[in-house]
Symmetry: C2
DNA sequence: TCCCTAAGCCTAGGCTTTCTAGGTATGAGC
DNA sequence: GCTCATACCTAGAAAGCCTAGGCTTAGGGA
């Protein structure tokens, strides 16, 4: 898997996880790994900056909590964040459907030898 | 649509179009716009560098042709390019399925108020 | 006691890729 | 002659993710 397929999708994925409830950074990495079936194993250097970016944008809010002697910064969605999560999901569906059409059309073209070139003059 | 959702996917899409037959740069832009239902309307400054990158990588080969007095550089897949196209498509499927799981899980979690936080301590 | 690992947080810098914004040239239509 | 569409190209900026570190506390093993 090409690593920067994530580009432009990470924020949406983080928002999607937070839709299920508050989380802290480290746990968010675990959640993304689990829910993606091991496909997304993101380094902390990707996730923490993303969370800070989302907080600056007003889409998530954070607070400190203490658990087992360890400090944790817990992030949760704001109202704007919930709206953004919905929008990101629908943008993803549109993007994904478009990619699927391109891949599908390419394969179909290749399957019919008499169809001529993909792009007419 | 966030424009750099394309990151890391453009090469695969270009290869997919070329799977259907040779194409030149300008026509490739049209093909991507048509097949994606208008979602992908890429500027030339994205496509030409991508084609040159793919050519340097040995995945496409190019040759000049003349049509209606206009010179065209026509790109076609090499054998390695065909293999790469297959691989990109399967990487896309894996990526797409993973994203879908994350979005799906997030929505499911939000639907059950008693489920507790998304990420257990 | 000392060391290593895991859980947690963070940042600086680099790399890659895409877009913006330009440039060139030909042919067709007005 | 002018403009528009076709067709190619490039330099530089912008953005986002990853690499590679650094910090702390807790717990287990030797």
């Amino acid at each position: 898997m090409s690593q920067d397929m994530m580009r432009g999708h990470l924020d949406g994925l983080v928002l999607a996880v937070l839709t299920g409830g508050p989380a802290h950074g480290y746990g968010l990495i675990d959640a993304l790994r689990d829910r993606s079936g091991g496909v997304f194993d993101l380094p902390e250097g990707s996730v923490y900056p993303a969370l800070h970016r989302l907080e600056r944008a007003g889409l998530v809010a954070s607070g400190w909590s203490e658990a087992a002697g360890r400090r944790r910064r817990v992030y949760s969605l704001t109202a704007a964040g919930r709206r953004a999560a919905d929008q990101r999901r629908s943008e993803w569906r549109s993007f994904s459907a478009a990619v699927e059409r391109v891949f599908g059309a390419g394969a179909a073209g290749a399957a019919s030898p008499d169809a001529g070139p993909a792009v007419a003059s």
